[in-house]
Symmetry: C2
Subunit: 214 residues, 2 copies
């Protein structure tokens, strides 16, 4: 059975195989990662069902059979991707940045950073958006992720407006939701509106034109 770990950070490897220690041999961990990388890339581009394990093996540079040494089934490969490569930590990092007194600028920065994170996790996000109807666990993960993001963003917005001295016109929850949904859709579907301009316009709209260029 393969070593199943949650390598959040690299370098936290438990027992780097003897060969990997001494020579340039790939090592089990790197092979596993290469398979995951290839699967992520292909699942995102063609979808889970349209991607043969053979294609994954080819892109990873390993024989087909080796995939099933590291993952019991093709589906487990998908589930591992979703479980191990979570974008939530990156979002948390963003909302821990300090807010400035300029609310508009703060929210625009938040939007740009958020879109940056989505782009960095684009393949995984696309996979989730595409497969969450077929796979219960992905649906759950996706939903939880959205709720967590909503919570974090709403909290950040609240803080930003408190510091900026702005009385929100409406519940911040609604603002956060409109903000989040638009950025997800803009980032994952309508790549054309993926411009800084769109974010500024949206924040402008959310803030009702006030607090601009404070």
């Amino acid at each position: 059975m393969p070593v199943k770990k949650q390598p959040k950070d690299a370098d936290t490897v438990l027992q780097p195989t003897e060969e990997a220690k001494t020579k340039g041999t790939p090592g089990a961990e790197e092979t596993r990662t290469r398979i995951l990388d290839a699967a992520q890339c292909l699942f995102a581009a063609q979808g889970f069902d349209a991607t043969p394990t053979k294609a994954i093996a080819e892109q990873a540079g390993v024989p087909n059979g080796l995939i099933f040494y590291y993952f019991p089934t093709k589906k487990a490969l998908l589930e591992t991707l979703i479980a191990e490569r979570n974008m939530l930590p990156a979002i948390q990092a963003i909302v821990h940045l300090p807010v400035r007194s300029d609310v508009h600028a703060t929210l625009v920065t938040l939007g740009k950073n958020y879109l940056k994170v989505v782009k960095q996790h684009e393949e995984l996000s696309r996979i989730m958006l595409r497969e969450f109807r077929s796979h219960e666990d992905i649906a759950t993960n996706f939903k939880t992720l959205r709720e967590e993001q909503l919570r974090l963003i709403a909290h950040y917005m609240e803080e930003a407006m408190r510091v900026g001295g702005i009385q929100p016109v409406k519940d911040v929850q609604v603002m956060a939701r409109v903000f989040l949904y638009n950025l997800i859709f803009a980032g994952l579907v309508d790549s054309l509106s993926n411009t800084p301009r769109f974010i500024e316009d949206m924040v402008d709209l959310l803030l009702c034109g006030i607090a601009r260029d404070e």
Copy 2:
């Protein structure tokens, strides 16, 4: 070769087969429709690649081989679905409704009607959202559809605010886009926020709290 028509409205059938005229025999057109219905249902639930033609045939109550009498390939079946069952006419009907002097109420009605149309075309919309990355023609169709909807909604909003005597804070284009993207996402992904309350809150936010209960 099968009769390829674009039955926008029913009853526009060209030559109802003799049997269909006289007896209760299904008739070619109905068989074709049943296959399309089954495909639509299954593609939406499991995805195109995960749906065998055999499953479509079973759900339609026809033998597997008959599918390929009406459609040359499985992919053609998908393309026919997208081409023949377009939701744009329904959207056009919505934005031809008269605007009232109460802008808030007008936009809330627009939102509710839009969500209703999306729900009526839910299966097709889900298919588009899921498959547009793999099929060029679906991507094009999807994009065009979004742009058309954006145009229609922006125009309708402009009219609503002109009649309501409200000076829009920002470009109506931005408002329309935020409105549309949120409703698509709410309707197709986050079914929980698919509530009248969400629409009202969103319109409230878009209108900056003004024009409420005029």
